[in-house]
Symmetry: C2
Subunit: 366 residues, 2 copies
């Protein structure tokens, strides 16, 4: 069941029902403008990752500033974006279930769609779905450039899959998916440089070996908010897939030399119990704010720490605590899974609710 | 947006789209029957906690086996239950926002509702809402019996709040909320005994002091799946608020002398990448299965460990791994927040989908 919107346009921020997902529109727009300005001189395009925001409204705001399309991880996310008017969507992930591939192929009448593979069996599955739908599906080969998760090895194993795709009458070889996830959160610039230098070597080698076989990599996609400047400067990647930059979470803030974005996404919470001196309990626990990358920070209360999350409660301790009934902005440790718990963004500017945007792909896991 | 159901009745389990929340109906019914049988000789009633299941369908199944009502943590959960036919609902939590209290009071025309307080300001807020709605709201005093979160101190501070409630023409004093959350997961029986013995002393003392002032505690509620046998045997509590017993998660399974319930709730996931020997990647990361109480277990694959969760991926390593395309049941580390990520239960019996139940209070945080 869709939850009621927690606010109405025109309300003051203090009137928003809690917990709520609040988007500071000035900071959000600053982040979008900053990314566009940083990428412009590099010539590298932005294909922002919708796994973060799950919203066609946010996607189109990114595209109005020059993003060439969107990435998603799930077919349900691709559906929400395509139905919301996003014209160019890459599933930056493997999809092997026939039902899901049929749904993806069905979107191709309203949007450009593409998908990744890392196995010959995966290619066969995409091929069958494309043939059944009477389309040619653009298919990228994912390579493992250090993340150690999905992806075939760079070089000959990747080229073999690319040739298999190019030989199919139902597929179009689209290029390479080359994302180093774990590099994003390495704390020092030196560690991030080393990881992306390694990734760039394998990616460049694979692009060249494809070219030697007559296969052009139209897209070489990868990078996230923690490392995108390195990929953009490398000359290897054509598209940057950053997502978190739009919102900027607490964990990226812990990187040394952090990316130049502002915290734009908050969970607004209310102190609903303050039973003893030195403690305040808010109505936002780990069902309301993701804790997989650390506990949230308390915005504007420098002496206050969010020290523990249970299902529906967050415990604040420290100095200068908010009072019973007071509302506070929490900065999520990790934006992506926090957004995925909500049905609505409450857009706020200068203390007033300006807009409500649906999180149409919330819970879209399939 | 409500997500499509991932299955249809009659399908084989292997046909369910992934990730999906699968309820093993035989195990679920066993758990409900077991709890009813364990509590019957103690005379202690069950008011099962709907924070776990978020579903009127599950609530009514519990009530058909003798549960006297349901607990919730949030007004949105109370709404979903009342609208789904649950007649008796206790918000086992403080609610101080006027908008929320007005919504709760509005439910009293279709269900018996009650709420907790731990502060005089909270009582005043409930009183205003009840007066505005023209009802008398049953109000319990929450006491802190060792959990260290919400709740006033046992004894005189609690009695003072009880007297304040009883003196109000708009409120009815309903008793005590006495839940020791952190005791549920203490690993040894000795630790759990000690915690509940401490909790029982403070609770009994408060009940007696209320009685000395002429205030009867009609409800003395508390306990969870980890300790309920202790509270039920104590003679202090009148109602047990266990929730997880219906599903039984991996973390409760790690208690020494664990509660006698079967794992009934699973996240069905599919291997969507198997790029190297010794690794299989499933399509269920921490957006699909909560990791706040540890990573999930892989059911039926004794040599396989779920070693890491990213947003949309889970990494399996070990011996005898499932193959690319194969579907596996994951046992969540923590059921409550896992359920809260899904719109549908897929009820399965003997390998077939028997029913689909909506998780009507999914995301109901307000």
């Amino acid at each position: 069941m869709l939850q009621h919107p927690p606010a109405e346009p025109g309300m003051r921020e203090e009137e928003i029902d809690t917990p709520a997902l609040v988007l500071d529109l000035d900071a959000f727009e600053h982040n979008l403008d900053t990314m566009a300005a940083l990428l412009a001189p590099t010539g590298t395009k932005l294909r922002a990752h919708a796994k973060t925001h799950k919203s066609a409204v946010v996607a189109l705001a990114q595209m109005r500033r020059g993003a060439v399309g969107q990435c998603v991880q799930k077919v349900a996310e691709a559906e929400a974006l395509a139905w919301g008017g996003v014209p160019d969507i890459l599933v930056s992930n493997e999809v092997i279930a026939p039902r899901k591939l049929a749904r993806l192929a069905a979107l191709s009448s309203i949007a450009k769609v593409a998908v990744c593979v890392d196995d010959a069996a995966g290619i066969a599955a995409v091929e069958q779905a494309a043939e059944a739908a009477g389309i040619r599906m653009t298919t990228l080969v994912e390579i493992d450039i250090g993340g150690g998760r999905c992806g075939v090895e760079p070089g000959p194993p990747a080229v073999a899959l690319a040739e298999r795709i190019a030989a199919s009458p139902h597929l179009i070889f689209g290029g390479l998916q080359a994302y180093h996830g774990s590099a994003q959160h390495r704390r020092t610039p030196e560690e991030r440089h080393a990881a992306i230098a390694f990734a760039a070597e394998g990616t460049r080698r694979t692009v060249e070996q494809c070219r030697q076989r007559g296969l052009e990599c139209a897209i070489v996609g990868g990078a996230g908010t923690g490392t995108f400047a390195l990929e953009a400067a490398s000359g290897v990647w054509t598209e940057i897939q950053a997502g978190s930059y739009a919102f900027m979470d607490a964990d990226y803030g812990r990187n040394q030399d952090p990316p130049p974005f502002r915290h734009a996404l908050f969970v607004l919470a209310q102190v609903m119990s303050a039973p003893r001196p030195g403690i305040a309990v808010v109505d936002a626990g780990h069902k309301a704010v993701a804790v997989d990358s650390g506990l949230p920070l308390v915005h504007g209360f420098p002496g206050t720490l969010y020290t523990g999350a249970s299902d529906e409660h967050g415990t604040l301790k420290g100095e200068g605590l908010p009072r019973l009934g007071e509302k506070v902005r929490l900065i999520p440790g990790h934006c992506d899974p926090t957004v995925d718990r909500y049905d609505w963004y409450v857009g706020v500017r200068k203390g007033r609710v300006e807009c409500l945007w649906p999180i149409a792909a919330r819970g879209g896991m399939a």
